[in-house]
């Protein structure tokens, strides 16, 4: 099948779970023989990012000796179409504005094309992306999350091809009850007009059905998976020293529950003073977290690394004795799977989609700090427990593969295509 995908990010430039997931499923879909045109936003600065070297001026990939065979095969079935835009997966209106201003200062010429606020930019990107549908031929449109909704809807209208909208995260996940109504409206319109919806967990499916009044029959659950790369081997055995290390890795935002991690750390350190806690990532709550760590007087055992990427992430996982994901609302949550690849035992919040598929992990309610601390202590105190969990997790991980997810997605494409809507030409 030929797929027009409105996706996010491409390695090596990845900033989080959405990009990782898009790439993983795209590679697996290409592996199944599907042809994909991958449209993604690209800001001025990233124009120089290494992955763009993979793409010729016309958007057709060029060969490169350094690339491995898997990548080669993938690129043969994949056409990357970067479109200039300031969008990236984890923007909110406030951040967009700051980004827009700095971009305008630096590239006063090019920046003029970008929308002055986030919503305007999403619409502008949507028009630029949507019209690609005129020049390309494809059987199905696959879009990821609200920022790609205008592009996807326009492409659907132009081509008459069915739209599969993939929901990785909802405004309610990102913002709790303080939702941005405009964003919520875009999400809702996208889901109402899409021919099929893919949710990354039953948790997300429930939220879509309940909060957006979408008929559940229209929503299929396809869990994310992880991609194994050889690079990880390099750090496998590196777990030095006596002092154990507990890791939080993710955006330091409301959604990820960093505050619960800090409180749990204080309780653990009260009992086991010789433990290091690491908070890796950046986000709007970082300042408050640093302050709170100071207040609790645990600064000598609690470290902030700032934003990590690529090898730094691999390295931090391989140094950890335990990974904690205390998310308040996590539609899926790919990072526990990554931790498991490094034989790191995992504690995760029950308020996450990934907890629906992981059995060999410990689970807590994100608000139950005492229970979280108690479980952190248990894993650190009993090497036998950590060992048993890591061993079983390895087996479990073998079953969580993008190939399987891609097969499910392909089946959903087929359903969408067989019940495709009539094209509505001439009214754009």
């Amino acid at each position: 099948m030929r797929i027009l995908m409105f996706g996010w990010e491409f390695p090596p430039r990845m900033s989080g779970g959405l990009g990782t997931a898009c790439y993983g499923m795209t590679a697996a879909l290409a592996g199944l023989g599907h042809r994909i045109t991958f449209v993604l936003p690209q800001d001025g600065e990233a124009g120089a990012a290494p992955f763009l070297d993979l793409v010729s001026a016309s958007g057709v990939p060029v060969s490169d000796n350094d690339r491995d065979d898997g990548m080669e095969a993938l690129l043969r079935r994949l056409t990357l179409r970067p479109l200039p835009s300031l969008l990236h997966p984890y923007l909110d209106p406030g951040h967009y504005h700051a980004l827009y201003l700095s971009e305008r200062r630096r590239f006063s010429e090019t920046a003029r094309v970008y929308g002055p606020d986030l919503i305007a930019e999403v619409i502008r990107y949507g028009q630029a992306g949507g019209v690609l549908a005129r020049t390309l031929s494809f059987d199905v449109i696959h879009a990821h999350d609200w920022m790609t909704v205008p592009a996807a809807l326009l492409a659907r209208r132009i081509s008459g091809r069915p739209l599969v909208l993939h929901i990785h995260s909802l405004e309610y996940d990102r913002s709790g009850e303080k939702v941005n109504e405009e964003i919520r409206a875009i999400e809702r319109e996208g889901m109402e007009k899409a021919d099929r919806i893919i949710a990354v967990s039953h948790r997300t499916k429930r939220m879509i059905a309940e909060r957006y009044a979408i008929p559940p029959e229209k929503i299929s659950v396809v869990y994310n998976a992880v991609t194994r790369t050889e690079a990880q081997r390099a750090y496998r055995t590196e777990r030095p020293g006596e002092r154990k290390m507990v890791l939080f890795l993710g955006r330091i935002t409301f959604q990820k529950g960093p505050d619960y991690f800090v409180e749990a750390a204080a309780q653990v350190l009260h009992v086991l003073p010789d433990v290091t806690f690491v908070m890796a990532g950046a986000g709007d709550m970082m300042g408050r977290m640093i302050e709170r760590v100071g207040e609790l007087g645990i600064g000598d055992r609690f470290h902030f690394t700032g934003f990590l990427q690529g090898e730094e992430i691999e390295r931090i996982f391989s140094l950890s004795d335990l990974y904690v994901m205390p998310s308040v609302s996590e539609p899926f949550g790919i990072s526990p799977l990554e931790a498991m690849m490094y034989d790191v035992p995992v504690i995760l919040s029950r308020q996450s989609g990934v907890s629906e598929i992981l059995k060999h992990a410990l689970k807590v309610n994100f608000w139950d700090v005492r229970e979280m601390a108690s479980k952190i202590i248990a894993v650190l105190k009993h090497p036998v427990l950590a060992g048993a969990m890591a061993e079983k997790a390895r087996e479990e991980l073998r079953k969580i593969r993008w190939e399987k997810a891609a097969e499910r997605i392909a089946a959903i494409y087929r359903e969408a295509v067989s019940g495709a809507p009539e094209p509505e030409r001439g009214q754009i």
Binding site: H360, K363, E371, A373, S374, L385, A388, K392, E396
Partner: protein
């Protein structure tokens, strides 16, 4: 005369309360009384009371020709004494008919034999005494927790004066021989070995209500017909199962009680067949050969070994730490301390930590009050931590004595 030997295992786990690391040093009662009571009440209503009444009725109806055996774990005895004396009285009424044998086992439904021979012996003696005082029966037959068995166990049991021991009739020890015969354990002189016919037992215990089973629905007549095919003069067909099969694992709606009601008549329809309790069967039949079982077997899972309780590192770690406390526990000379230590020995705690089948989520899952084997291990280790700390503290009595002793020396 071929014998049919019907034995029911009666046991309820002692479920532990959710015990966080932060409870260590603060909370010293470990049992989830409310949950234990809730489940006991449920099982009493669904199984113990109606099944007991039916068995009593059948025994009276067949005037002694229908006979059964029970083994009540010390753990369930504790719970019945505390919460449901009516159920216990029901068992006493059954015992009074003279047609019901009560077996002996380890009092704590434990795996003590695998870790401490002394503790094993003490638990068996205690259980023997309890059965004697509750039912006026001298134990003649022994069965180990989860039908665990080995040559060494048989030898120890013979030494304690038992005449018969029960084990799983698995091909692992039988080879191509029949389970429907009485055997002699290797190394024993008097003790006789009765082996569970697992196919016929599980036809009732597991498959009775399985609509996908080719033999569904199972009627008493059909089942008796299968038994009657085992026509050898010296045959003993051992049907061993959990008592909770009747009404709890197999609900009343499956027809399990009607099946049981019709079963004695259907079996006794054949004039050669009779019911015997394990002790009677062991006495009535000569050993047909010797069974060698150097390693441990049990009735659990496909493997029929002890890996359901001691198969993974967490289970082994927990057991090692528990039995490591033995000396300290005994030094305290405190009934309550020993009781707590025994309660922590109950095999179920280890069963909950089993990771073997956790991924597939089957029978282990059904009986497991924990979300995962890891939670079971953490909870148990927290409790064990508190228990072992409490052993280190000197008791009030000891403290008083020490003060006085010092005063004397001054």
């Amino acid at each position: 005369m071929p014998s049919v030997c019907l034995y029911f295992q009666v046991h309820q786990p002692c479920r532990l309360r959710r015990y966080s690391f932060f409870d260590v040093g603060h909370l010293h009662d470990y049992e989830d009384d409310a949950e234990n009571r809730r489940i006991l009440d449920r099982v009493a209503e669904k199984c113990y009371l109606p099944a007991g009444a039916l068995l009593l009725q059948l025994i009276e109806e067949y005037g002694g020709a229908f006979r059964v055996a029970f083994s009540l774990s010390g753990v369930v005895l504790n719970q019945l004494e505390r919460y449901r004396p009516d159920v216990l009285e029901g068992f006493q009424r059954l015992s009074a008919t003279g047609c019901v044998e009560f077996l002996n086992e380890t009092d704590g439904h434990s795996l003590a034999f695998l870790s401490s021979p002394r503790e094993f012996r003490e638990q068996v003696l205690r259980h023997r005494e309890r059965i004697r005082s509750l039912f006026g029966q001298e134990g003649r037959t022994f069965r180990h927790t989860e039908l665990i068995y080995s040559n060494a166990l048989a030898a120890a049991v013979e030494k304690m004066g038992y005449r018969a021991i029960l084990a799983e009739g698995t091909e692992k020890i039988l080879g191509r021989r029949s389970p429907n015969l009485v055997y002699r354990p290797t190394g024993c002189k008097k003790l006789k070995l009765l082996l569970r016919n697992y196919r016929l037992s599980d036809d009732v215990a597991f498959r009775f209500s399985d609509r996908n089973w080719a033999e569904y629905p199972l009627t008493a007549a059909k089942y008796a017909h299968w038994l009657h095919r085992i026509r050898r003069e010296e045959a003993v067909v051992n049907l061993f199962m959990d008592y909770e099969t009747l009404g709890e694992h197999q609900w009343r709606e499956t027809g399990i009680f009607d099946f049981l009601k019709a079963l004695p008549g259907e079996i006794l329809r054949h004039p050669d067949f009779c019911f015997r309790t394990p002790a009677e069967a062991a006495e009535a039949h000569e050993a047909a050969g010797e069974i060698d079982c150097p390693g441990f077997i049990s009735w659990a899972d496909e493997e029929r070994d002890t890996t359901a309780w001691l198969g993974n590192a967490m289970q082994q770690d927990a057991a090692r730490k528990l039995y490591h406390l033995e000396t300290a526990v005994r030094r305290r000379k405190d009934e309550g301390v020993v009781r707590t230590w025994r309660m922590l020995q109950t095999s179920d705690h280890f069963y909950y930590m089993c990771t073997k089948w956790f991924s597939d989520g089957d029978v282990h899952r059904y009986f497991n009050p924990y979300e995962s084997p890891y939670e079971a291990y953490i909870n148990y280790m927290n409790i064990l931590d508190d228990f072992s700390q409490s052993l280190k503290k000197t008791s009030k009595g000891e403290k008083r004595w020490q003060r006085r002793a010092i005063a004397c020396l001054r």
